[in-house]
């Protein structure tokens, strides 16, 4: 083979190798972003429901969650604690004062220098403003109040975060979402970013947007919080679930809400 031809061959090979390396590097670098669902392809878990469940969510008189919302309304107006104060005494008509609140939660709490979710915010009000005992996680009362408050944001698009103080917490949430965990060594992203729309047992894998919380879950035959649902997932993945109220849940919820930014709130949702 002539010198020129050999040089040409090596040159071609080197260029191909360089291209391959560049391609690999690009793929690896964009890995985290590449699995994210494109904004225009995002859909709420509502779209994956069968017609009966959609009808259940759409009709307030058929949605079992309405029972909790009604309870929440009663609690909103009831005097509580040593301060003998109702939520309504400070916040007035929830339909006005609470509109849009759930759509921008979790929110930064300056006193605590960290974000708090809606349940914790309600308990902060109970202890600091009403001088009442905090409500237990997943208690009927806390679920009812959370459902009532979040219900006031139904139809409101989830807000895009503009608070720079929340950035590190959103990053922490993203890390939890993308990290493999548990016995099966799975991450949330593997199902909900990469395999949404496909079936797992009899159900469609949803994208996992927290648009309808607290939800009436058919599996629970009860209303439940996002933390309960996240715990279900984590246990299902054969990983250890954090305790209720753990900062990991708040970080995850913060990330999930940003991932769902722009999608309208549906509380109270119905899910399988």
């Amino acid at each position: 083979m002539g010198k020129a031809k050999r040089a040409h061959r090596v040159g071609t090979a080197l260029r191909a190798f360089a291209h391959l390396t560049l391609l690999l590097a690009t793929l690896l670098a964009s890995f985290a972003a590449a699995t994210e669902i494109p904004l225009d392809q995002r859909r709420s878990g509502y779209e994956d429901l069968g017609p009966d469940s959609k009808a259940m969510q759409d009709d307030d008189t058929a949605n079992p969650a309405s029972l909790w919302v009604l309870d929440g309304e009663a609690l909103w107006n009831a005097k509580a604690g040593a301060a003998n104060r109702a939520c309504a005494d400070c916040h007035g008509d929830a339909a006005q004062s609470m509109k849009g609140v759930a759509a921008r939660y979790p929110a930064y709490d300056a006193a605590r220098a960290r974000p708090v979710d809606l349940e914790e915010r309600i308990n902060i009000c109970r202890t600091e403003r009403q001088n009442a005992t905090p409500l237990r996680f997943e208690s009927k009362e806390l679920l009812a109040l959370t459902a009532y408050v979040a219900r006031q944001s139904r139809g409101v698009p989830i807000a895009e975060n503009k608070d720079p103080r929340l950035a590190p917490f959103i990053a922490a949430g993203r890390k939890l979402f993308e990290e493999r965990q548990g016995q099966i060594n799975m991450s949330c992203a593997q199902c909900h970013d990469e395999n949404w729309g496909k079936k797992l047992a009899g159900n469609v894998v949803p994208q996992g947007h927290p648009t309808g919380y607290p939800i009436y879950r058919l599996e629970w035959q009860s209303l439940g919080s996002l933390q309960r649902r996240l715990r279900n997932c984590i246990v299902g993945m054969r990983a250890t679930a954090y305790e209720f109220g753990a900062p990991e849940y708040v970080a995850l919820e913060l990330f999930l809400m940003q991932r769902a930014r722009g999608l309208p709130m549906e509380t109270p949702g119905v899910r399988p």
Partner: protein, 155 residues
Amino acid sequence: MPVEIKGTTRREILIGGLAAGAASVMIVPAQATPERMQAAIRNVVGEASVKAGKVKIDVPPLVENGNTVSLAIEVDSPMTATDHVKAIHVFNEKNPQPNVLSARIGPRAGRAKVTTRFRLADTQTVVAIAEMSDGSFWSASADVIVTLAACLETL
């Protein structure tokens, strides 16, 4: 007593004997079977023959979750004083118990339609029977596929 004693088969009397004597007993839940469902149906219709027709069952063929399944039963009937549905009975074949619902309606209903949400323990057949004012019975059945939720809450 955790064990239900139903019927007089040898196996069931044996379990009853164990339960009476032993402190700890193998817990055997009373299990519905197609035979038990037939027995439950006989309980309602007696010796009358049950004809297929007039009844429509609306249930998803593959449920989203067996814990809460939407169900609608509608019967083709003019619902007049002389020609109406007296009752609608719903049965299942694989839950621990064969009965689901018995609804007594009548000409005041205007329409023979009842909806509810029920539980299905496993893939099985659901049967709905309409009891008519003339004493006749009509039925329909539906096969439903039930899977467990993909991610279970408790291990």
